[in-house]
Amino acid sequence: MTDFSHSLALIVAEEVLTVVGLVLLLASAWLGDKASRGISIVAVAALVACAFLAAPTLAGGLMGPDRLAFGGQYIGDAFSAFAKILIYVSAAVTLIFAPNFLNRFVVNGQGAMRAEFPVLVLFAVVGMNLMVSAGDFMTLYIGLELNSLSAYVLAAFLRTDERSAEAGLKYFVLGALASGIILFGMSLTYGFAGSTDFMAVRGAMAGELATGAIFGLVFVLAGLAFKISAVPFHMWTPDVYEGAPTPVTTFFATAPKVAALALTMRVALGAFGGAVDAWQQIVIFVALASIIVGALGAIGQSNIKRLLAFSSINNIGFLLIGLAAATEQGAAAMLVYLFIYVFMSIAGFAVILMLRDVDGNPVEAIADLAGLSSVRPAMAWALLAVMFSLAGIPPLFGFYGKFVVFQAAVDADMIALAAIGIAASVIGAFYYIKVVKIAFFDEPSGRIVPETGPISHKIVLLVACLIISPLGYLLGPWLGGLTEKAAASLFLIG
């Protein structure tokens, strides 16, 4: 019984989010869409509260058997706490962005912002929490599906917009396929390892692997690669990013990426941690392919959201270089990169959300950004910071993410991988500076009006820009300490 209460105490964040989500669902059913504002505020408050719940775990670097719940199915260690805080931040930002954007679209005589939106985001967050805390393949799958099903609905949230519906359907069909692949891989792994528990799998899959076990491992990783949109399972990303409402795209670019990547780390380094040789080549290939395809694919894009989709594929490639190193340093570097990546994405989408044309419609074509620096200088400088940061040009903070990841790769004796990866990053720099060129060097297109966005967007943008600016380096020691603790907890063999 004490074990059970201990377990319940560990998952208090998930309990809070679930209960708040259910209560808000009831509230939205009774109060209707009028209450959507209040429901959003309560949801954001719940997320912030959960972030504070996770903070002590992370700061204390808690790990070990004390942090296992329900017989090892759930792990509440510092690593999961780090990922969860990033997820909460992303989800809260999405909720801040959503009403302003969705209410510009009128459905059935009222704004498209409905009371279900925050509830869906909360359920997705619960799913992601389970993903990053998974200690067992069953937990993994439940979290993955809870998150994915909420995400499919969110992608199609703008019901009257064909692109949004298309994005939702595409995401659903391909996502279901990926879930099937994972499930197949899990069943093979279970068959060969005799357990679904990560630690038991780790014990069973050390040394020489049977062909079937390798199949299981490959299928699980392939399914996860779909979720993090790594090449060659990236095809859905640009379409979904473009079609989904922009706040939802912000959400997709941040929270589920963090969750899926943390999960991939947990599976690769935890469950398959004894079989590094079996997956290392796969990860190296996927990393390089993602960097190159992400960079080349972005060059021809004319829609800024599609461009950011390819950019996220590109960034996932850099993150996977940290995974390929398969060291504690590599894992810490990935977490640093993830942190920076989340804020770069938030800042980038905040800029896009604040740009409007004469009719107040959102601007998405890159060509329309022409001359942005003379129409809205602050936006243009923010965009410049984001683009150079994504390109990894010092002194912006995005450079630090690449710095630690490549340092980890070199320290793991993967100099060739690091050299090819960093050379390919120059291809990526081309389209990032193209955006800067359009915004700064070209004559104004006249499409964008000097209208100022809501104050909440400005605050989010300002905070995100401060983090990616050179001032971000002041966070460096703090971030380095936290990620080391988180990575240490991941590498603890329970």
Partner: protein, 508 residues
């Protein structure tokens, strides 16, 4: 010293055009004064590293500054050229003045930072960060084809330097420190040195620029505004040479010796090819840009001669070229402001209506050729003397470059300043105003000072260069022998041929 331009840059961004000009000028002048103070307080013959500032940022990064004589001289060059750059863009830049001045002050911050950095990664950050303001300067305020030039500049330099970053990671892992002075004394394994050297070389050769990766330079120079060209030619190119002298040679001495033939070959080709290209240019800025490539080739050849004269010569050419090419770009800028064309054919006979301008232009032309009494003479003479000790053939080819240099510069001067006044608008140009006078006099004084009494510039660098020479002593003779081999063989063959000839004659 780093703080002043940063404050100035932020201030510039927020004020009106005229105020921004004044703030920028005052900031750069304060920097100049600070630079002079630094120079005066620099203890010649004292400790190798002076004015150290250190603050631990966090693992892997350290904020560490400090200078030796070589860095001091290059910092002086930077702070000396900056007020002139601001002056050069006083009237010619009319749109978005605040942002322009802010970009320039940021450049100054980064350039001083590059030369003063004592931490490997801090150096890299300063080195790379310069791309952003320069990209904006070329792209926003440049000429007609500015976008192409800005792209080319950015991507070329970026691909060069990212490989250097990987090499840095490896070095730091191997040596366990990011401290540049420590690394300069660290002996890396010989076979690893070669790969590391190539990675560093990729970066510095692009920045320098060496043939065949020099093609970004003419585009960037031509399209950049006048002050941008001055900074590019005056300081940014020197970062490549500084990189060689600070990283490649002392940290990787064996690989440097091993690859010296490559540097010599590239330098020789560069000197001749780019000089010939410069001869046929019809665009003034392009001509001067190609002449920069040729001068920098002499610098690289002199550096890789591995002797005291070579190093001193290379440094003096770098400093002298910084002043002279900056001055030449300024000369072009002066007439460009009046006529808005860089076509040589559009000018002609301007010595008649602009006699004072023509005098200065002549002085800098002569300095560029390397006439005794000007800065470049000292550098080129020392440099060639150093190269000659290493290999007489390389020295021979490099000297050809100087003759060709005289040809294209004098040809340029004849077409612009002498001859008939074919174009009426060119004939109607007024002579220089006070602002241009001040800038020209400052540059001319610097050039002549370096030419007549180079000791004041050589003295602070002497101990560092001697140290560098000692550092290489263990490996350099092997390199010399290796390089001298072909010429020794040739001599032997020639002697044998002569004997044979004699014998043949005897038989008759």
């Amino acid at each position: 010293m780093l703080l002043v331009p940063l404050v100035g840059a932020v201030a510039c961004y927020f004020v009106s055009a005229n105020a921004a000009r004044m703030i920028a000028l005052i900031t750069t002048l304060i920097e100049l004064v600070l630079g002079v103070v630094l120079w005066v307080n620099f203890d010649i013959g004292g400790a190798q590293w002076q004015f150290m500032e250190r603050a631990d940022l966090f693992a892997g990064f350290r904020y560490a500054l400090g200078i030796d004589g070589i860095a001091l001289m290059l910092i002086m060059l930077t702070v000396f050229l900056m007020p002139i750059c601001i002056g050069a863009s006083w009237n010619s830049i009319n749109k978005r003045v605040g942002e322009y001045m802010a970009a320039f002050l940021l450049m100054e911050l980064l350039m001083v930072g590059v030369f003063a950095a004592q931490d490997l990664f801090l150096f890299y950050i300063f080195f790379e960060a310069g791309l952003i303001p320069m990209y904006l300067i070329i792209g926003i305020w440049g000429g007609d084809n500015r976008i192409y030039a800005a792209y080319k500049f950015f991507l070329y330099t970026l691909i060069g330097s990212v490989l250097m970053l990987i090499a840095m990671f490896w070095m730091v892992r191997e040596a366990g420190t990011t401290d540049i002075p420590t690394l300069m004394n660290y002996d890396f394994p010989a076979d690893a040195q070669k790969l590391l050297w190539l990675a560093f070389f990729a970066s510095f050769a692009v920045k320098m620029p060496m043939w065949p990766v020099h093609t970004w330079l003419p585009d960037a120079h031509v399209q950049a505004p006048t002050a941008g060209s001055v900074i590019l030619a005056g300081v940014l190119l020197k970062m490549g040479g500084y990189g060689f002298i600070r990283f490649s040679i002392p940290m990787l001495p064996e690989a440097s010796v091993y690859f010296a033939w490559l540097v010599f070959a590239m330098s020789m080709i560069a000197v001749v090819v780019t000089s010939l290209i410069a001869l046929v240019q019809s665009d003034m800025k392009k001509l001067i840009a190609y002449s920069s490539v040729a001068h920098m080739a002499i610098v690289t050849a002199a550096l890789f001669a591995f002797n005291v004269q070579g190093f001193e010569g290379a440094m003096m050419v770098m400093l002298g070229h910084g002043l002279v090419s900056g001055a030449l770009f300024l000369c072009v800028g002066v007439i460009y402001d009046r006529l808005h064309t860089r076509e040589i054919a559009r000018y002609g006979g301007i010595a008649i209506n602009m006699p004072k301008y023509a005098t200065f232009f002549l002085l800098f032309t002569m300095a560029s050729i390397g006439l005794p009494g000007t800065s470049n003479f000292i550098g080129e003479f020392l440099g060639l003397a150093g190269i000659y000790q290493a290999s007489s053939w390389v020295a021979f080819v490099c000297t050809t470059g100087i003759i060709l240099g005289a040809a294209y510069m004098l040809y340029l001067y004849r077409r612009v300043a002498f001859g008939e006044q074919k174009n009426e608008d060119a004939a109607a140009m007024p002579d220089m105003d006070a602002r241009e006078w001040i800038m020209m006099i400052a540059l001319a004084a610097g050039t002549l000072w370096m030419g007549i009494y180079p000791e004041s510039f050589l003295a602070p660098m002497r101990t560092d260069i001697e140290w560098l020479d000692q550092r290489l002593e263990a490996v350099a003779p092997a390199g010399d022998a290796h390089l001298a081999m072909p010429s020794a063989e040739e001599q032997a063959a020639a002697a044998a041929a002569a004997e044979h000839h004699d014998a043949g004659e005897g038989a008759h």
